[in-house]
Structure formats: structure tokens, C-alpha cells
């Protein structure tokens, strides 16, 4: 077999595994969200399908799969079909550059492979930001193509909100990039090795704690989750941009929302909380099994963020639209800009 063939097979296997894990996590999340919300509100959550409702995601998936696929009268059919794909693909494609475990290479048939990252490109974080912005098009086009006023209003709100908060996400990340000196997620994570005081939330020249808070709040807004779920505000807009969607197309939007949640959690874990690095220097397990520990810490950090999403949803009511805009432009943006200023001065005074 040629070199290209082997590399292609390896990459395809990697992509299949990552995609499988992401979709499995989405399934777990749909159940976990309902369960955690229920427990926080003194309820039980789903209890009927399987013991303690653990088979609920499968039942939901089957139900969505067999639902009728309705295209409303007067809808733009092409854009109506395109929008869910435009929402889902950018959400899934971002996982290509996420490092899930330690940056080590294995040798297979005489060639070098990185098993824990699909492709370690040197503009990783920029790539993710670019593609998550395309995801907003899916929402806007879906809202417009539905030929429904609620969908259109949801799409418009989404456009304004995602643009405002993308900016804050980008600016919050800049501080970390200044300290790490790289856009590659693998290099950024490697720079944080050796104990939690090296993580960029607490790192020496200037702790990125403000950038971290800005990033977390903005990423909640960017994924259209409560308390920033104005594009799909149930009490105001029926269901926002996917009011007219049903069946598998609705399932695509649903998948995209949860995949986006996982993606922003992965970025937060990799950029601010040290990715696969343990909070203590080195690893406890022997060298050959160190990757197990790395993957475990990465998973723990990602799931902490996902829990935070549910926790915020259970606690906070929805913001009003003007409050959302004021908070984004007048509070988050100056903090992010000030953080960049202070971080660059600190990075200049204490060069690595």
C-alpha cells in the first residue's frame, strides 16, 4: 500500500472514532441535561424508557427519525434543506483540530501518526472560529427560508447575537494566544504542562481569569443556550428559527446545538484549563499508560463545562434583548480589550 493510502485509512478511522464519540456524547448530553435539570428542580427527569430512563435518547432518536418531514408552503425549499446541514457540518468539523490526549506519535507500517488529534494544523483555533461563524448562516437561512415570522425573528436575533458574541470569544482568546505564541491547539496545550499553576487561567505573567470568564459567558451566548437563548425563546417565538422544522432536519439543528456545546467546552478546556494536562506535574501512571490519564483529565474538564451549561440553564432566566446587547458590547468587549492590553504588556515585560 502506498503512503497516501495508509495515511488516508488511518485518518478515516480517526474521523469515524471522533465522530462516533461526539455523537455518543450528544446522546448522553440529551439525557444528562434533562436529568440534571430535573434533579435541580426536585423532579426526576425521564423515568419511563428503560431503568431510570437511560434509554430515553434512543427513543427520542427513533421518534425523530420516523417523524414526517414537513416543508411549509411558501418556503424556499433549497435553503430550507440546506440550513440544517449548514448548521451541523461546521459544528462537527471543528473537532478536527481538538487534541483529545497527549501529543505523542505512534509508528504504524513505518509512518508517524498522531493518534489523539485528527490534524494538528498550525492555525487550529482560527479554523474553529471561522467555521463556527459559518454555523450562524445555518440558523439565519433556516429562519428566513421557513416563511414564518417567528422563524425570521429568531434568525434575526441569532444573527445579531452570534456576531456580537463571536467578537468577544475571539478577543478573549487573543490573551492566551499572546502567552502561548501559537495558534495550534496542540502547542497551546503543551505550553500549559506541569501543574495547574501553569494553566492559562492562573498562569504567571498575567492570569487569564477575566478572559476565561468572558469566554465562558460568550460561548454560552454563542451556542444559543440559556440564559442567552433569545433565538429560540420558547415563550416569545414558539421555537425561534426551527419553528417550522420537523423530523430529521430538526434533529440536525438539535445535534448542531449540542455538538457546538461540546466544541466550545473542548476549546475552553484546551485553552484555559490545560487540556489533557493533569493539575499536578507529570503523570501518576507509568509512561506507557500516561495517555489514559491525559484523555481522562480532558474528559473531566469538558464534562465540567457541560455541567456548567446545565447549571446555568437551571439557575438563570432569559435576558431581555437590549440587556443582552448592552452586556455584550458595553461590558464583555471592554473587559476583553483591557485583558489584551494588560496581557501584551505582561508578555513584553516577562518574555518566555
Amino acid at each position: 500500500m502506498t503512503e497516501v493510502g495508509i495515511k488516508l485509512v488511518f485518518s478515516l478511522t480517526q474521523i469515524a472514532v471522533v465522530l462516533g464519540i461526539v455523537l455518543l456524547t450528544v446522546m448522553i448530553l440529551t439525557l444528562a441535561e434533562r436529568k440534571v435539570l430535573g434533579w435541580m428542580q426536585d423532579r426526576m427527569g425521564p423515568m419511563e424508557v428503560g431503568p431510570y430512563g437511560v434509554l430515553q435518547p434512543i427513543a427520542d432518536g427513533l421518534k425523530l427519525f420516523f417523524k414526517e418531514d414537513i416543508v411549509p408552503a411558501g418556503a424556499n425549499k433549497f435553503l430550507f434543506s440546506l440550513a440544517p446541514i449548514l448548521a451541523l457540518v461546521p459544528a462537527l468539523i471543528g473537532f478536527a483540530v481538538i487534541p483529545f490526549g497527549p501529543n505523542k506519535t505512534i509508528e504504524l507500517f513505518g509512518y508517524q501518526f498522531q493518534p489523539f488529534v485528527i490534524s494538528d494544523i498550525n492555525i487550529g483555533i482560527l479554523y474553529i472560529l471561522a467555521f463556527t461563524s459559518i454555523g450562524a448562516y445555518g440558523i439565519i437561512l433556516g429562519g428566513w427560508a421557513s416563511n414564518s415570522k417567528y422563524s425570521l425573528l429568531g434568525g434575526l436575533r441569532s444573527a445579531a447575537q452570534v456576531i456580537s458574541y463571536e467578537l468577544n470569544v475571539g478577543l478573549a482568546i487573543v490573551g492566551v494566544l499572546l502567552l502561548a505564541g501559537s495558534l495550534s491547539l496542540v502547542k497551546i496545550t503543551e505550553a500549559q504542562a506541569g501543574g495547574f499553576w501553569h494553566w492559562y487561567v492562573f498562569a504567571f505573567p498575567f492570569p487569564q481569569i477575566f478572559a476565561f470568564v468572558v469566554y465562558v459567558i460568550s460561548s454560552v451566548a454563542e451556542t444559543n443556550r440559556l440564559p442567552f437563548d433569545l433565538p429560540e425563546a420558547e415563550s416569545e417565538l414558539v421555537a425561534g428559527f426551527f419553528t417550522e422544522y420537523s423530523g430529521m432536519r430538526f434533529a440536525f439543528f438539535f445535534l448542531a446545538e449540542y455538538a457546538n456545546m461540546i466544541l466550545v467546552s473542548c476549546i475552553a478546556a484546551a485553552l484555559f484549563l490545560g487540556g489533557w494536562n493533569a493539575p499536578y506535574p507529570g503523570t501518576l501512571l507509568p509512561e506507557s499508560l500516561a495517555w489514559v490519564e491525559g484523555v481522562m483529565w480532558f474528559t473531566v474538564k469538558v464534562y465540567f463545562f457541560l455541567f456548567l451549561f446545565f447549571w446555568l440553564r437551571a439557575t438563570l432566566p432569559r435576558l431581555r434583548y437590549d440587556q443582552l446587547m448592552r452586556f455584550g458590547w458595553k461590558v464583555m468587549l471592554p473587559i476583553a480589550l483591557g485583558n489584551i492590553l494588560v496581557t501584551s504588556i505582561a508578555a513584553y515585560l516577562f518574555p518566555r
Binding site: V36, G38, W39, M40, Q41, D42, R43, M44, M47, W311, L312, A314, T315, L316
Partner: protein, 180 residues
């Protein structure tokens, strides 16, 4: 100083943190108030106003005397009574036919209050969802059957409850002998 603490509280999202602590404490001290309804059921109070039923005396005769007062009291015209003489007893009446259209009933209990002989009762049955709403127009036999299964302890006839009161219904057969 108070201004400074207020400022600090704004900076660290104090109110939001308090709220998140509240939800987390509910998660950690998880005590659901949910009752898994079809599997476990609430104990209903005795005064529960559920399905209506016609009752009988302990000798198996119907209590209803066909006076139509329930029909008059009913605010949503649920009840329809066709009164008739008891065959062979010209002064005594009974409900020859008795219909209740339970699709309209609002379970106010006015018919139970209006009944002079306590022939109507409210049971604790409430699971009366059916596929055909015509099944909810109940006749006398069905209402009596509900009463039979919900009120196993029946009253004695009025004249046996108080043997010393005067009987106005002189045509009643088989009166107990008065102790002279």
C-alpha cells in the same frame, strides 16, 4: 464602603453565584416530590369530588325517589331523570330512567347536596378517560354499579334507621311492627 462592596458584588456576579448555589444545593440534597403516577398513586382525601354514583340501601333497593331535585340543581344540565310511579304502590315514585352526561359534569357536588334522600354520592374515581365520548353518557345501571363498587357499606332504609319516627309514606309495604 457599602458602595465598594456593592461594586465588588457586581464584579464577581454575586447574585448569580447565590442562585447557582441554591440550584446546586437542590442537586446535592436530591429529594424528588414527583409521584410516578401510573405506577404509584396519591392517597386522595375523603372529601375528594370524583365520579358521581347512585347508591342503594342495604337491602339492595335504590335510594333514588325520582324527585328531579338533582336535575334542577345541576348547573350544567348533566342529569336527566325520568320519574315514574313504583308499580303497585301509587304514592311512591322512583327514577325509571336516569342519565348523566359526564362530558359536561364539572364535579361541583350540587346534586349531591340537593338530594333529599342521599341517593347520590361522589366517589374517588377519576380515571375515566375513554376513546369514545359517547361512553361517558351513563345510564342508571352504570351509575349504580359505580356506587356498588365505591360504597361497600350501605345505609339502612330510613324507616329502619329511626324506628320511632312517624312514617309519612303510609303506602309503604312491609313496615316494621311498632313496639306497643
Amino acid at each position: 464602603m457599602t458602595k465598594f462592596t456593592a461594586w465588588i458584588k457586581t464584579i464577581i456576579f454575586y447574585e448569580i453565584l447565590v442562585g447557582m448555589k441554591a440550584t446546586l444545593s437542590h442537586l446535592l440534597h436530591y429529594k424528588p416530590i414527583t409521584l410516578q403516577y401510573p405506577h404509584e398513586k396519591r392517597t386522595l382525601p375523603d372529601s375528594y369530588r370524583g365520579m358521581l354514583a347512585l347508591l342503594r340501601y342495604d337491602d339492595g333497593t335504590e335510594k333514588c325517589v325520582g324527585c328531579d331535585l338533582c336535575e334542577a340543581a345541576c348547573p350544567s344540565r348533566v342529569i336527566k331523570v325520568f320519574s315514574a310511579e313504583v308499580p303497585g304502590e301509587p304514592t311512591k315514585r322512583y327514577a325509571k330512567e336516569y342519565y348523566m352526561d359526564m362530558t359536561r359534569c364539572l364535579f361541583c357536588g350540587l346534586c349531591v347536596d340537593a338530594c333529599p334522600v342521599d341517593a347520590l354520592g361522589m366517589t374517588r374515581e377519576f380515571e375515566w378517560a375513554v376513546y369514545d365520548k359517547r361512553q361517558l353518557r351513563l345510564n342508571k345501571e352504570q351509575l349504580l354499579a359505580i356506587g356498588d363498587r365505591s360504597y361497600p357499606v350501605r345505609e339502612k332504609r330510613l324507616e329502619f334507621q329511626h324506628p320511632n319516627v312517624a312514617f309519612f309514606n303510609v303506602a309503604f309495604k312491609g313496615l316494621p311492627e311498632k313496639e306497643s
